[in-house]
Amino acid sequence: MSIKIGTKTYADRIQEGIDNTFMRHAVSSAQGRFRTGRLKAAEELGDWEDWRTLGEEIRTHTMENLDYYLYQLSEQVEKRGGTVFFAETAEEANTYVQKVAEEKQARKVVKSKSMVTEEIGLNEALEKSGCEVVESDLGEWILQLDEDPPSHIVTPALHKNKSQIRETFVKKKGYTKTDDPEELAAFAREQLRQDFLEADIGVTGCNFAVAESGTVTLVTNEGNARMVSTLPDTQIAVMGMERIVPTWEELEVLVSLLTRAAVGQKLTSYITSLTGTRLENEVDGPEDFHLVIVDNGRSKILGTEFQSALHCIRCAACINVCPVYRHVGGHSYNSIYPGPIGAVLTPLLDGYEDHKELPYASSLCAACTEACPVKIPLHEHLIRHREIIVEKEQKTTKAERLAMTGFAQWASTPAAYKLSTKMAGTVLKPWTKDGSIKNGPGPMKAWTAARDFPAPAKKSFRTWFDEREKRREKDDRL
């Protein structure tokens, strides 16, 4: 796969998206759950606006000094026994990984979820070298068995329902049980355990590299990234060049922003920070570690008015609030990066030519910008894209332009929006057990103001703490 996921016209994709009722319900219910989770988490964190400001400042500083931090990172990785390969293009990255695989005479490669390896088409390259490539993230594994592209960057198989998944398991893997999600997951666990134990190479992405120590950090829930970096003797981590922070102090801030904005969790089950090869006396973890740092068009965004698009931490918050995404689904964007960030990033990475409609896949309602944990002005970037497209020889046909803007306008009417938030309010949040939310803090205030969320009964820590202190003082006096 590359950044582009097919050859169908944009209009066809949107029609397919709209016709797919399950997908539309799934997307809108997921959006609701993600959003509720994110707001609750943001509220619990308190000072959400301060957190966003801090996130923005960190990202801005890092991008402005990117050459230095990447230098420091590569020095540190080398010091810790790793090899670093800077790849200007997808081909360079793939060729390097192929070379490592060939040297290792690797037959099986297990992967944990990584957008950048999708973007550069690493799986196809490895398969060409005769490797069996196994995606181990549950959603990615389902898509791989079904030869289907992802439709969301956090839950990639969002568009599939459980009976479709069961059918895939039956057909491709001889599964015999029901479509109960727990049973389906247990089957995947059992099947993939063997793959982890047999694999010669583990390939991971990288959520954040830490320059000061040469560390690659992975943010996951399922535990597959830990498998991939624990069991095979060789590990290859592939990172987009912008996925870096100066020190551990910035790391923890961005991890907190990512987990809260992405899934509403305080932290995901596993935050795994890997530095170089395993040490002498250590038994598991890789003895050979490679870090591939990928440009693939990113550097052209540096120093331009779109630079802040590189601040993206891939949390999908903008996707989860987007009324256009809600109705057309992820595949319509014809890019592995869907939603508002996809509409901003894809033309920058892959050119306007194939993606000239994307900047129109937005109602410019600015919900994305308000949701973004690192304050990327997404809708302003979209407006700039449109201006550039118009300036540059009227690339869009009038019909397409009308279809998209008309749709986007409808999707963002208060009625359409209300309908979907209403649905969202009734579904359970997957990761947070209890409680509902009161008026959203900063990011969603404009949207949530229209709805009555039951106020949370729980005391804030501060109040609890103060009350406790008071009680104590009283006790002391007695």
């Binding site: 000072d47 230095y68 026994g81 200007e88 102090e249 969790q265 995901t268 040490l279 820590f461």
Partner: protein, 235 residues
């Protein structure tokens, strides 16, 4: 152990940024620091309360015990799930908590307790794969998120907390801190002093899970299916 294509690549970045290559960077004084305010001034008891509360959300059983009772508590956790095969992290903390003796007694009672032993190499991993429970000691415990931080090393293999179905973390109460901020600071300060970070730092929050099938929460995917924290009062 080489770095390929670096100069060309970084020159290109500097060029795009419209300046010469930088050989150092000063971290700015950030204008806000909300992370410092979380549970500021809370003592260990208050942090423990926060941890217990958070454990309810992350599907994790949280027990509090004393060093003397640790053996009984562990036995209780294993018996509850009929676990016979156990793999445990080793090192100085084993003695500090009297676990060597506890494990010895348990072996006599028919449990198979394997303590991670670098001399046995890869065999440790195979043993961990077959074990029903893995026991580790938390190095830093984050109250806010209910997270156990492991500095994996020769005594604490990565597999122990990953392969068995039940994950058991022994948490010295003294290791509780408000949130990830404090754990990150410890590592950052060490790095500055030239003490390199562990090859693997694992921040573990409850059992593994996924929402990849119709957004249903599934607890227990590739990693542990069950998680139990045992807080030991060491203060």
């Amino acid at each position: 152990m080489t770095v390929y294509n670096r100069e060309r690549f970084l020159d290109q970045l500097a060029g795009q940024l419209g300046r010469d290559r930088r050989t150092s960077a000063e971290r700015p004084a950030y204008s806000v620091q909300p992370q410092e305010r979380v549970f500021q001034g809370a003592d260990q008891d208050q942090l423990l309360e926060k941890l217990k509360e958070q454990c309810k959300i992350i599907h994790t059983n949280c027990l509090v015990t004393t060093a003397d009772e640790l053996g009984e508590t562990l036995r209780h956790v294993w018996d509850e799930d009929h676990i016979q095969n156990i793999v445990s992290a080793g090192g100085p903390r084993l003695e500090a908590y009297g676990l060597s003796d506890i494990y010895e007694t348990m072996r006599q009672d028919g449990y198979h307790v394997h303590v991670w032993d670098e001399q046995e190499g890869r065999k440790n991993v195979t043993t961990a794969e077959k074990a029903g429970a893995g026991i580790v000691f938390s190095d830093v415990t984050l109250a806010e998120s209910g997270t156990v931080t492991l500095f994996n090393d020769r005594w604490n293999g990565r597999s122990i907390s990953l392969l068995p179905e039940t994950f058991v973390a022994v948490i010295p109460k003294s290791t509780l801190v408000p949130r990830m901020t404090q754990a990150a600071r410890i590592i950052h300060e060490q790095e500055k002093k030239g003490v390199p970070v562990s090859s693997c730092v694992s921040f573990i929050t409850g059992p593994s899970n996924s929402a990849d099938i119709e957004m249903n929460l599934i607890v227990g995917v590739h990693g542990p299916v069950k998680a139990t924290y045992i807080v030991v009062d060491d203060m």
